[in-house]
């Protein structure tokens, strides 16, 4: 009789365990590991950065264009900016190895957070999952480069929402800004060894509609990552207090590269109309770009005018 009772107790415990284990769980590990960005698309704007002034295909506002037209790539040499991190809205689009790992709650074995580390600029991001019960920061909480991310699984797709972002940039080397009101929604999934990250970036100030961008990664079975020490050095001596920038209203500053690539100057101004197929019909109507010599002469003249204004400012 006692043997039967013990056996039943064992069954009961086993049954209770199975009942708990059969509940839907969020714990998955589809993305854990190392991933390398694929370079078959958009390597041109993200490897070395796009040509300054090339905004074709980007749904930017006039305000964004005006800010970006004052951008001077020399700012990358400023000691204050040399180790500037990438924002979460840009980092995954840059060309650098990414590591993904999940943390499970030791009691429930549910995913409490998913973290990513992108090699270049040492970008560390935390995606808080529902099981973490992590408190959502108040609107007054400090904004950061990586922002505050929450995630949930819908089938095999990881949905991520990010806000609380610092004022950042849409693209690194053309000065296109993103405001601190920017939010990002992502859908991350994989097909075999390919990881897809659909980034949907919204900014009421500088984007006229969400910027939809899908990024591809390929799995590295045996990945590793180098550290990213960064220290600022005075690489290009400049006078104290000098901030590289172009003065407003000098809009021809960047036109030279477009002649080589054949991008019409009007198209390079971007805006959401340049994203749709009908823009191909509009391209037919645009006048040919001025010659390289003409553009060079115009830019030289504009540079001289800006230098004169700066000198005048210093004298005052």
């Amino acid at each position: 009789m006692r043997v039967v009772t013990i056996k039943l107790r064992c069954l009961w415990i086993a049954a209770a365990y199975i009942s708990v284990a059969a509940l839907p769980a969020s714990a998955q590990s589809l993305f854990d590991g190392f991933w390398n960005p694929l370079l078959n698309q958009d390597a041109y704007p993200y490897a070395g950065g796009p040509d300054p002034g090339d905004f074709a295909g980007l749904p930017i506002t006039e305000a964004a264009r005006k800010v970006a037209q004052q951008y001077d790539a020399d700012e990358q040499t400023m000691p204050e900016l040399q180790c500037r991190p990438f924002p979460a809205t840009y980092g995954p689009r840059a060309l650098s190895t990414m590591r993904v790992w999940a943390t499970l709650d030791p009691e429930t074995q549910e995913q409490s957070k998913i973290e990513t580390w992108i090699s270049f600029a040492a970008q560390h991001r935390v995606i808080w999952m529902p099981a973490s019960n992590h408190p959502y920061p108040p609107p007054s909480a400090p904004h950061s480069w990586q922002g505050y991310s929450t995630g949930k699984w819908v089938g095999n797709v990881l949905w991520v929402h990010t806000d609380h972002l610092k004022q950042g940039f849409l693209q690194r080397t053309d000065g296109l800004p993103l405001s601190d009101k920017t939010t990002m929604d992502e859908r991350i999934f994989r097909y075999g060894d390919v990881l897809v990250d659909i980034m949907m970036i919204s900014d009421p100030q500088y984007l006229s509609q969400p910027f939809i961008y899908s990024k591809l990664y390929y799995r590295i079975p045996q990945g590793s990552m180098d550290p990213y020490p960064c220290s600022a050095h005075n690489q290009v001596p400049v006078p104290e207090g000098h901030v590289p920038m172009h003065l407003p209203f000098y809009t021809n500053t960047f036109n030279r590269p477009f002649v080589n690539k054949g991008i019409p100057l009007e198209a390079a101004r971007g805006g959401e109309q340049t994203m749709f197929p009908e823009y191909q019909d509009h391209l037919k109507t645009l006048p040919p770009n001025p010659s390289w010599a003409q553009i060079d002469a115009e830019q030289t003249k504009q540079r001289a005018e800006q230098d004169a204004i700066r000198q005048q400012g210093k004298r005052q």
């Binding site: 009789m1 039967v4 009772t5 039943l8 107790r9 069954l11 009961w12 086993a14 049954a15 209770a16 365990y17 199975i18 009942s19 284990a21 059969a22 839907p24 769980a25 998955q28 589809l30 078959n40 698309q41 958009d42 390597a43 041109y44 074709a56 295909g57 980007l58 749904p59 089938g155 095999n156 929604d185 859908r187 999934f189 097909y191 390919v194 897809v196 659909i198 949907m200 969400p210 910027f211 939809i212 961008y213 899908s214 591809l216 390929y218 690539k261 054949g262 991008i263 019409p264 340049t274 994203m275 749709f276 197929p277 009908e278 823009y279 191909q280 391209l283 037919k284 645009l286 040919p288």
Partner: protein, 300 residues
Amino acid sequence: MKLSLILGSAALTGALTIMQGGLAAQAPPPAQQPPAPPQTGQAAALMDLTGYWVSVVNQDWRFRMMTPPKGDYVQVPLNAAARKIADQFDPAQYGGANYQTSGIIDCRAYGGAGLMHMPMRVRISWDSPDVLKIETDWGEQTRLIHFTPGRPYGDMEQALRRGDVGSHGPASMQGYSVAAWEQPYRLNASGFQRGPVPGRGGLGQSQINVVQPGGDLAVVTTDLTPGWLRRNGVPYSSRTRVVEHYQTFQDPTGKEWINVTTEVIDPEYLNTPFLTTADFQKEPDGSKWAPHPCKKVADN
């Protein structure tokens, strides 16, 4: 003792019921009932791809929206033989000095391996319960995507490994496409299995047959005639195989989108597979549908 027996039996029964719930949903009908008709691709659809969609070009703009300069093949893993062919591109045939923005586009750029990367609108509809049709306005192409009757679900990765996707007849610009709805990976299944996993599991593995939401459409295209990966003559060969995955999503404003991931495998001209994506936004109707023929040259 009696109470223990009753409670224990009830708990075990309940647990097994929960555990096997997923299995029961997948179980075949009892033998005495007539077999259910095989499910078609349309009936088994995991998402609705039908309607009008417009490609939104904010990636690779200068390679997609206009013809890149002759000799600009950056990002495409071409071998020397392919480069030699691409160098024969003749701008004079496509508008001369204005060839980059003339809108005169060779039909080979709308071949099956490059089509979904081109700026265009697509109209997707069911041509028959097992054939999905994709039509384009720019380039005026039609693709037919074939589901296998009675086998609407599948795993294309496995099929490719097994060599299930073979030749289907004479080559053409759009080739022959086979498709399967890919169910999401199963929880706790080994090897990223998608379908039911009978007879597996055990303690700690009991979620193995929990049905997950989502899934995608996988398409494999073969039997292609040679074409171009870019508008400036970057070639792919007739040995090319194209693997595509279609996934739908919604943006923060509520608009519907399709993401298409395309892998071009060409043992003749590519050193490695060529992977790209394209995003299409849903349109309410066909009012913006604008057919544009492509240019046929002697080699087409």
